[in-house]
Subunit: 215 residues, 2 copies
Amino acid sequence: MNSISPTQGDTKQRILDSAEYLFAQNGYRGTSLRAITGKADVNLAAVNYHYGSKDGLLEEVIKRRLLPLNRTRMQRIDAVRQKARERGNKPDIRAVLMAFIEPTLLFKESTPEAGTFVTFIGRSMTDPDDTVRRVFQRFIMPLFQILFETTCEALPRLPRDIVLWRLHFTLGSLFHTLNICGKFSTDDIEYINTRLDADSLLALIIPFVTAGMKA
Amino acid sequence: MNSISPTQGDTKQRILDSAEYLFAQNGYRGTSLRAITGKADVNLAAVNYHYGSKDGLLEEVIKRRLLPLNRTRMQRIDAVRQKARERGNKPDIRAVLMAFIEPTLLFKESTPEAGTFVTFIGRSMTDPDDTVRRVFQRFIMPLFQILFETTCEALPRLPRDIVLWRLHFTLGSLFHTLNICGKFSTDDIEYINTRLDADSLLALIIPFVTAGMKA
DNA sequence: GTCTATACGATGATAGAC
DNA sequence: GTCTATCATCGTATAGAC
């Protein structure tokens, strides 16, 4: 097969990459299909052909990165749960939080594209239009369910609604960390190194959220 | 004085209100002066006349809500500091965090317009374009400086960079709380009441961040 | 002092000529 | 492909009406 164009064959992929970048930059509503297909250098109709609709494209953009990440986090949480069951005691709350947070931090620093995706997550959480947030929520639900149950097992004396709120506070700390890392902040109060690697960040955030959870 | 037009006399205010709403809805860059003046039903040139530029307008939108809030928070922190000094011991970390967080939560629920403003803050924190974030940062710097120093005094055994990171985690929890409150979440894991009043939220978040700080 | 109508230069996208 | 003319839209500036 003679490839008469460098863009042939990977049209689907190119659309996905362009959409991810533009969604992160200008938001979902602020990104037109023309902008996406223009950047991807494909025909406008290609989106509808490959993904059915703009919403269908959004789902695929999210699934591509989120499902593998969620699989990793799920395995880590399951491992903590399994180990606790074998030893006949409750899961260690620090290990539970580690199982969720460490893969997340590692994901962010894995590739520039992952960083773009994290930017997109951050934006969707604060967007008044909650179209995107709802899709994210749908895909993260099964994982969050397990995280919640495991956390409740780790902290059996705490009411479930308190655990749920504290998990939200933990997510807030994590989101904010993901957002500020990689940005310049020369004008901050004191020098705060926003270029820390995942291990250093983990060493900072885990004691904070673990103590908060056990409070 | 006969008011021949409902828009007369309050042009400055109307511009401010429209800008605040549209900035929260579509972002700073996504909002044109023509959109603002159109919604406010005033002439395009009025923005330049009253505020000098779009950036000048942005500053006033932020100052209008943030300066009074910051005054309140500053007074509360000063009071905690003063009381500690009188008693000859270090500030209580829980009281310090309360002094910052309680006025913030009360502000959010004070008026619908304050809610809109909080939405705007949330957006600017996750926007890849950091024009707005820089303005917010500039106006919150003096307060954050005092908060940071007071927190260091309350936790003298903790290295300053650790304190700074933990303050960021605290801000993350607070931002996330401000963002999710007031939104529907019928599809959440378990019922989480996002319509809690400031006092109930305070009772939830303060133990979490206090324990995290002291970890 | 306030507000309006209108114009200006810059920018970014589009489309056609080569 | 590359260049270029064109167009819409943006923030901004100004002259004059009330």
